[in-house]
Amino acid sequence: MMDQHEDPQFDQWLKDVARTTYHAPRTPPRDEMWKRIEAARRHKQVVVIRPWLRWALAAAAVLVLGIGIGRVSVVKEQHIAKAPAQAVQDTIDALANQAYQIAATQYLSRTETFLTAFRADANRSANTARLARQARDLLSTTQLMLDSPAAKDPRLRSLLEDLELVLMQISLLNPLEDGRDRDLITQGMNQSNVLPKLRSAIPAGPVPVRTEGAL
């Protein structure tokens, strides 16, 4: 039974008009997209933060605390054993590595959002000065990441170097430029497949892990 508010004539008219005028798709560039998909898939996941890893991290923290308390007790009794001290150091190293991975994931997520929006807005009159400032902030983090243990992974290092170049270019954008520089940056991003590589480096984890601190 037809709802009293329905209007078949309107619905048909709406469909026809929307199909032809609302975001009418173009022919997709199949080959270009396929090349980028292949390139991104070659550049496999760099950082893997799964939900269980956070539990492991919490468990490791409890372990460190427990060992620390135990160690203090032992010190009081002046019986310091070498083995627990080594265990503490190993656990601290492991925690540090996990912390770098979490920081890397959050940084990559923020950068992906920024570059996606930058590329989508390349032809818009977005505030160039603000984009440049945001790029500088991310550039500082990129350089810190390059100097951190997270950059020991050659794939992540290569990605960070690509990002450093792109962010450097955006950070140097002249507020008075006419859009050609933005086009060049966007072309460079497309040629180096930096966004697909970046996305493939971000684990498909829960939202709080992926987007915490995102722009």
């Binding site: 008219w13 005028t21 609302y22 997709p28 997209m33 929006a117 493939s200 995102a214």
Partner: protein, 180 residues
Amino acid sequence: MDETQLIARVRAGDSAAERALYDAHVDRVYRLAFRLSGDDTLAQDFTQEAFIRAFDKLSSFRGESAFSTWLHTITTTVVLNGLRKVKRFRQREADIDDAQEIGSTHRHAEPDLKLRLKKAIDELPEGYRTVFLMHDVEGYTHEEIGAALGVETGTSKAQLSRARAKLRVALADFAGEWIA
């Protein structure tokens, strides 16, 4: 070769089969991404991301639904999440611009039908808009939409009905167009 065989070959690492599977579905994935985003660059990004995830997760596809249904579930997730991120970013930009432009006034030209339609569809709640575009514009069935969005078929129908009602109100000025 049917699609089940094609998927089996992709799982076995056959790159030609990957390309064939991509070719079979890319147009519809891109169309949906473009309809939802309205931006060629974003649509390409979302299409690529959807296929990358689909290939990576193909081992978890059990064939309980059609491959296209499974792929469109991934696509809608990728597109809607991606659009939320871009929207948040743009909203921040707009908020700052608004704060900087207090006191300035703007005159807007009287929009024509195309602009009014765009505005009306853009202003629909996300769920209504997605269902309207998938069903009325791209021709998905309510079953396909329900599977892709993880909602009941009845929910999809109800959202479509509400979307049309909102659009009818928003476009009331153009009543003569469809009566004619």
